[in-house]
């Protein structure tokens, strides 16, 4: 049975974003879900679907479908732990919309929570000790590839060799993204940044400095997707287009091992929406490292190949520019909650709730989520207007 209304995002809930140890994912998730339901004007009794996104890697406290029982929800018609690595959050919204359209659920909560910051250790240390000793990852770790920074540093090295980019491009991304964060009270880093400050920051793995890397937090974000009328005051944010792409790049000559192949996800979503790139008011991308923003701007066809650095250096992606990108400070300066970071910011912008960082008149957003080593792409076209 078709839903009474076009499925839309009707609720958004964020916990506070903590830069210190504390909290466990299940508690953070429960808090975010309660906040999202309150935002939508709903209660747990209105929910008949729950989609859960946990951090990758097997940690004892990772979020799972047990959240339904532990979180006090009632009987459900849809319950899944979705796993497409970092692309999961965006893919969960796709899943929720399709399930509602098919009559399999009417109101679906999508939630991600993580708590990588532990007492007595940094998040970098948590990641450095993750990965095990088997398979390709075990060989890489024995070769000094600890955590994900050296991997993305190799990607950046290769990207520069192909595109002609250089560290000034990375600097421009970090500075532009920080400028957006200054207007976002949920951003964890809100100190003004210029090129001098960027180049003075600690090198992690050339060419990536600490300011090129996402800021992990302990926190959670939940969204409510519903095909029913809801009493919350915020406008319904419609999912007009969606797409995924999973390019099977191979680690062998002569192709590129590190990037390429994600454009089909955006092309498909725009075609579904009946829109073009020129219709996009805000671009919200999964940016675990500054180089990924450059890469995705090119890969998604938002700038000409090899021009991302030039475009970002021009100020086009910064506040006041004509291609606003990662308007909440992204994962670099906002907070790193995987795909929920760009998703939550798109909802805030389309609601007109962005305060000092609001892009005037924003009504259409592209949300791009990636997973693995830019191996998985899931994207959405969010819009204030329902599909035609």
């Amino acid at each position: 049975m078709a839903p009474p209304l076009e499925p839309a995002v009707v609720g958004l809930g964020l916990t506070s974003m903590s830069l210190s140890a504390g909290g466990v994912p299940v508690d953070l998730a429960i808090e975010a879900v309660a906040s999202a339901l309150a935002d939508a004007g709903l209660t747990a009794r209105d929910v008949d679907g729950l989609l859960v996104n946990s951090s990758q890697g097997v940690r004892p406290d990772r979020l799972g479908v047990a959240l339904a029982r532990q979180g006090g929800l009632g009987d459900l018609r849809l319950l899944e732990h979705v796993e497409i690595k970092g692309a999961t959050a965006v893919a969960m919204i796709q899943r929720a919309v399709l399930a509602i359209r098919a009559g399999l659920a009417s109101t679906v909560v999508c939630v991600f929570a993580d708590a990588p910051l532990r007492a007595g250790g940094t998040s970098g240390s948590t990641y450095a000790h993750s990965g095990g000793n088997d398979g390709a990852r075990g060989l890489e770790r024995a070769s000094g590839v600890l955590g994900s920074v050296p991997t993305y540093a190799l990607l950046a090295s290769r990207y520069f060799a192909v595109s002609g980019g250089d560290p000034e491009d990375l600097c421009a991304v970090a500075v532009s993204t920080r400028a957006w964060a200054l207007g976002n009270p949920d951003a964890v880093v809100r100190k003004p940044l210029d090129a001098e400050g960027y180049f003075a920051s600690r090198m992690i793995s050339t060419p990536l400095r600490v300011l090129d890397c996402a800021r992990p937090v302990n926190g959670a974000v939940a969204l409510v997707v519903s095909g029913a009328a809801t009493p919350g005051p915020a406008p319904r944010i419609h999912v007009r287009g969606m797409g995924q792409a999973h390019p099977m790049r191979r680690r062998r000559a002569p192709g590129e091992s590190w990037f390429g192949g994600g454009r089909a996800a955006v092309d498909g979503a725009l075609a579904m929406a009946g829109l073009t790139r020129a219709d996009l008011d805000v671009i919200e991308l999964y940016d675990p490292f500054s180089v990924v923003t450059l890469l995705l701007l090119e890969e998604y066809g938002l700038v000409e190949p090899g021009q991302a650095g030039k475009v970002v250096r021009s100020g086009a992606t910064a506040p006041g520019g004509d291609l606003p990108v990662n308007t909440g400070g992204g994962q670099l300066s906002g907070f790193y909650l995987q795909g929920m970071t760009p998703l939550a910011e798109a909802v805030v912008q389309l609601r007109g709730a962005g305060g000092a960082r609001q892009v005037p008149g924003a009504s259409t957003a592209l949300v791009g989520g990636i997973g693995g080593r830019v191996d998985h792409h899931a994207c959405l076209i969010l819009d204030l207007e329902p599909s035609r």
């Binding site: 390709a136 060989l139 024995a142 600890l146 090198m203």
Partner: protein, 203 residues
């Protein structure tokens, strides 16, 4: 990780051609990062222990495969043959890692990590055979030898160029793949013809 623990490693885990004093340890990482020699990359580690760089190919069509691939993307065959390849390639991507995790990384200076494109077509991530504070440029040729990490031989790059200061010490016992090795194919630019050998491992 105390020295007596290292010394207690089962003899079976030690590479046959490991140096006489493996307890001296790898230059870069702690033995805790030793890869699982009997795991999914067992043919690679078995080959490495014998001084061979052993990598997977499709047994049906000969396509170079990724380390964890279980079916050929070219022809669909699931018979995978691991065989020795030429221990030579070029730098495809490179980084100098400045962050050094206490307890896991032994060095006090930044260290290189290379993505090497081998003449066989495979790309393999490795560090260098010996400590170096400089990152070789993309496109630079390398040869491949082996480090010993916790008793397991793992591929590592020797920077084979005109810069003498970066050449590996030929007397380094952890470098069984020195260019003088007589049975090592030295052709450049082309992969060696497939040479069936007793070291092949099917999986």
């Amino acid at each position: 990780m105390n020295p007596s623990t290292d010394a207690a490693l089962p003899a079976a885990l030690a590479a046959p051609d490991a140096p006489d004093a493996p307890d001296a340890g790898d230059w870069l990482v702690d033995a805790a990062l030793a890869p699982l020699a009997g795991g999914s990359l067992a043919p690679l580690y078995a080959g490495a222990a014998a001084g061979e760089l052993t990598l997977p190919f499709c047994a049906a069509c000969g396509l170079a495969l990724e380390l964890e691939q279980r079916a050929c993307d070219g022809c669909g065959a699931t018979d995978i043959r691991w065989r020795p390849v030429e221990r030579a390639g070029t730098v495809h991507a490179v980084t100098l890692v400045h962050r050094r995790e206490p307890g896991l990384v032994r060095v006090t200076e930044p260290y290189p990590v290379l993505d090497v494109e081998l003449t066989s077509g495979h790309r393999l991530i490795m560090t260098t055979l010996t400590a170096t504070g400089s990152a070789p440029a993309i496109g630079r040729p390398v040869t491949v030898g082996f480090r010993i990490v916790g008793g397991v031989a793992v591929p590592a790059a020797a920077l084979s160029t005109s810069e003498p200061s970066e050449l590996p010490d030929p007397s380094d016992p952890s470098e069984p793949s020195d260019a003088a090795t007589p049975d090592s194919p030295r052709a450049t630019g082309t992969a060696p013809a497939p040479v069936p050998s007793e070291t092949e491992v099917s999986q």
